[in-house]
Symmetry: C2
Subunit: 615 residues, 2 copies
């Protein structure tokens, strides 16, 4: 067949059959047909996450990237990187579970304080007389008069898009219905007695968490989560910003992807709660600076390279319809302010939900992710001081040989004993790879068991340390017991990646303490937020030296506090004022400009000498 | 050829060749390809305006409507109604000049008072330092700080669509540029020193007139006009409203048509003035209630039938981008309030521009069109009293055998002498038909010359009265001298149509006077607005009894005052306040509910007995 022909590609075990152009990599073909393969590099042949197996048919031969990343045996078995492979005939392709980013565990609830409802939008139940030849007032004038007479609400107005829905509804309902008012503006309407609802969203780089909330009571009606569909365009924020800058329509595509998922989540929530989409009259969406810029299609060229300047950092309000949300016609989306750099509205939301702005203790807040945001509350000094550490996606499972997301079959707990290795996997499924908490556990255990030294080097003398393609490695699960049919291993390179991640966080926390003249002993509490943080074994994290020594600190794992903060800002004007004060009064520290940063980073990569090893 | 085939249709003398589906009438084919054929009925086979001649090829045979409207000779000569004719082979079609609605004369200027500029949007020329590693404030924060420091303007904000353009421009211009501010909101930006401009529009049922204005000085930069492209969907407002209600997507199509023409006009103005579209930061669009509802896609079902209720009657502001205008990203369109019924923002604008709200005389304002709006200013009583007369499109040339728009070849002045007929045509071209002022002239002359009696009946005994298909008629131009190759005639039916139109206006004015206890002698001035009104021979209008006897009235023809009022509201906040007061304090009278309406209407159809005839 010629090079110009189109081929059929069947993806197994999903059973999806799609048409592939010879110019599109199997990674692109999969993405276009809705199969999201894992990728940290966005399909550039660097990360090795998008592994597939060609079961039947002819594909292009392996390229240099694949020859570097895959073993000879893997290549012999038909294993390939989807981003480097192009169909040359009809193909049947196997997608291993570890290469799929769907179906991962999403952690959306968190147990934090409460916020009293004080919403911007309120409902008014109205009844009025219909027009007659003797009373031909325009519909909007009639409704405004009824609001003035019944509720003493003067000066009512509405945008034409709201009027478009208002006149038909008023007649259908016999001039007895409910209007939703944002101050003096009608933003929506419903049948008599319907309540106004809100949509709170934490738009994470990796995961999206959302709540449907009764605006007048603050009660949760439904919760849902989904992976961020932009992942296929790069796992870290810089790759995504670069996609938006470099590809024609890149920004529109990324915005459309996430807007579509937000709308799907909204529909799922509304369906769960058994309410009407037109009752949703307000939304609050938080995310880091890159995520909110991409959502709102703000310019990102200047955010993608030094000195990393945001286009807008203040709170923004946009019409929900402009973001493609099918809600009340006048609904508004509130995007809270940013702090600085990539420390965005999600961190403001986290600070708010954890009441860090009101604490009378010295508290460190840490939200571990591809970017790790950290904040120090120290009563008496500046309200708060924040910084961002480029910790990389190692704790999300990327750049780790057998790393994976927190999905079924992921190893989340590890204990290395004299007898062997004790594991816990998600869903108790056969082990496929290591998710974030497993990575922390196994690293701490390797160090505790003396298999790696305090510089992170494997002890080649130790009989339990094997030899792999990249040098020494430790086998957690043999191929015949694993869910992937391959050994699950930790390599020297993996340990190095983990050291880079922990070095960045460790150094960031140390500099934050020094910059605020805070002795480690003064820190009374460490709040660990985020999904990864809530599954983390804190003892292991301390053992591997993820945090500096904080002898007097209590550790508190609060889960996804950002979405709780978003919900508070959704239902409460007071919460928005607090959020705006937090953003305004939080000092932002650019860590990389500190002279000692390089040295602290290098020291942070070491494992703590004080750990009681070989227990 | 089978019925499913597509045919080529060539329209002459335009020279346009288009593909026709066999299911589309030639009227629809012409419209889709941008050739706007005249039509009062919207292509229903009733008005006889969309005449064409099939020169070559096979078409469907004439139907019953055509047999009724066209003479046997016309049919023999290949004359057809485009809306009743379907291609059955490739066709060559001749479009007579009278059937085209393009190229008509548009009157857009008027000599009225002045309004001092006091605009909502102002320009600020800014210069600031670029971001550095030591100063990573977000762009919007940087610009807001510069506005606060340089001009003492605090609390600046912007919508994301504005920020989208702001960051790239700031960098292109080296952080030295101009921002356009609407209060504290940035609505646009330009290169250093660019001035903010505005777009003022009178959206007439038939014609659209527009100005480009310097907002800060009020100076006119350019003027342009175009026919309303909705004409092809019905000449009067009720046909158009019915199209919007009955056709799927009818409302969207009508809105898109007019929005496209507005954008074309804007581009023409900007090009004339040699400025950038992004300098246009504000617009004001006036029109009758139906026109503004269709423009804004407000619900019209309740406006299309009794009791004719508007969806919204108060002033509305919408984003220019929502109307498809390519202007500054944050530009707003202001649509002023309505008075009642179909008396809309255009009449408010006319009252404003003529200062009728501030007059100390008793003044009647009349804007003659398909709907004729009338208003009485009487110092000491209610501010103003307005009414609407369904005068029909006779004065626009519709429903008149040889009626046409004010285009080249239209008879605009007529004098019947003993020796014959003296005519003036537009462009001095061979006569094709009668436009509005010609229709008024010829009617007055026919009556003065004794060819019709005071009931409007032709004097069959008079040798100058001929015999036509619809009974007695008067020939103005024989076929061999006309531009159409046909006699230009006035028939008994034509005179009856004119009587219906003048009867409605006459009755409306009389009832308005009675309802406000105003004696005809009290009226000191009659202001005649609108394009038709400015070409009108007032003596002829009085002679034919278009107005009741107003013995002490001075007549003043002011041309298109509505677009001047729109301009005032564009450049002046004070003018908007006055307009809103006018709408609020003008009493609306529904004429048809007056018990004496029918009788007054019938009496108004008569010609005045007092006219000095046979001079």
């Amino acid at each position: 067949m010629g090079k110009d022909a189109a081929f059929q590609v069947q993806f197994q075990p999903i059973g999806k059959r799609v048409t592939s152009s010879p110019d599109a990599s199997l990674f692109a073909v999969a993405r276009e047909s809705g199969i999201d393969l894992a990728s940290a590099c966005g399909g550039e042949g660097n990360c090795g996450q998008c592994r597939i197996v060609v079961l039947a048919g002819e594909a292009t031969p392996p390229n240099a990237d694949e020859a570097f990343i895959l073993t000879d045996l893997e290549l012999q078995q038909g294993e390939r990187l989807a981003c480097c492979t192009y169909a040359r005939s009809d193909l049947t392709v196997q997608v291993p579970r570890a290469s799929l980013i769907t179906g991962q565990r999403l952690q959306i609830a968190a147990d934090l304080g409460q916020m009293a409802a004080d919403p911007l939008v309120r409902a008014y139940d109205l009844q009025m007389s219909a027009p007659t030849l003797a009373d031909i007032r325009p519909d909007l004038t009639r409704i405004a008069a009824a609001l003035a007479e019944t509720f003493g609400l003067p000066g009512v107005y509405a945008n034409p898009v709201v009027v478009r829905a208002l006149s038909p509804l008023a007649r259908e309902q016999g001039w007895r219905f409910t209007v939703f008012m944002r101050g003096q503006e009608i933003v929506g309407m419903g049948v008599w007695g319907q309540r106004p609802l809100g949509f709170a969203v934490d738009l994470g780089t990796t995961k999206i968490a959302a709540y449907l909330v009764d605006l007048e009571t603050g009660a949760d009606l439904a919760a849902a989560g989904a992976p961020n569909p932009q992942i296929g365009y790069g796992e870290d924020v810089i790759s995504r910003l670069n996609h938006a800058v470099r590809q024609p329509d890149g920004g529109q595509v990324l915005a459309a992807k996430v807007q579509e998922t937000l709308n799907d989540l909204l529909c799922e929530l509304v369906s769960q709660a058994g309410v009407a989409t037109t009752q949703v009259v307000e939304a609050c969406i938080v995310g880091n600076t890159a995520m909110t810029h991409l959502l709102l299609q703000l310019p990102v060229r200047q955010l993608a390279s030094a000195p990393y300047v945001a286009a807008a950092g203040t709170a923004l309000s946009v019409r929900a319809a402009d973001l493609g949300l099918t809600v009340a016609p006048g609904a508004v989306v509130y995007v809270p302010p940013c702090i600085g750099g990539f420390v965005g509205a999600d961190h403001v939301a986290m600070i708010l939900a954890c009441d860090l702005d009101q604490h009378d203790k010295v508290v460190l807040g840490v939200d571990i992710g591809t970017n790790t945001e950290i904040v120090l509350r120290k009563p008496g000094s500046a309200l708060l001081t924040a910084a961002s550490c480029a910790s990389g996606p190692a704790f999300e499972g990327a750049h780790i040989s057998d790393g994976m997301r927190a999905a079924s079959g992921a190893i989340e707990k590890v204990r290395i004993t004299a007898a062997g290795v004790e594991l816990t996997t998600i869903d108790d499924a056969p082990a496929v790879g290591l998710c974030g908490s497993g990575i922390v556990d196994v690293t701490a255990e390797l160090y505790r068991a003396g298999l790696i030294n305090h510089r992170g080097r494997f002890d080649r003398e130790n009989g339990r340390v094997g030899d792999g393609r990249f040098g020494p490695q430790f086998s957690l699960v043999p191929a015949n017991h694993s869910g992937s049919g391959r050994d699950v291993v930790v390599t020297q390179k993996d340990v190095n990646e983990i050291q880079l991640a922990k070095g960045a966080i460790h150094a960031g926390l140390q500099i934050l303490l020094e910059a605020t003249d805070t002795a480690p002993e003064e820190v009374e509490e460490v709040v660990i937020a985020g999904a990864f943080g809530s599954f983390l074994n804190v003892k292991s994290a301390i053992a591997m030296g993820l945090f500096p020594e904080l002898p007097n600190a209590q550790y508190r794992q609060v889960g996804n506090a950002a979405v709780i903060g978003a919900k508070w800002m959704l239902i409460s004007r007071a919460a928005r004022h607090r959020a705006e004060a937090i953003a305004q009064h939080t000092a932002y520290n650019e860590l990389t400009t500190y002279p000692k940063f390089g040295r602290k980073f290098a020291l942070g990569m070491l494992f703590p000498e004080t750990v009681n090893r070989n227990q």
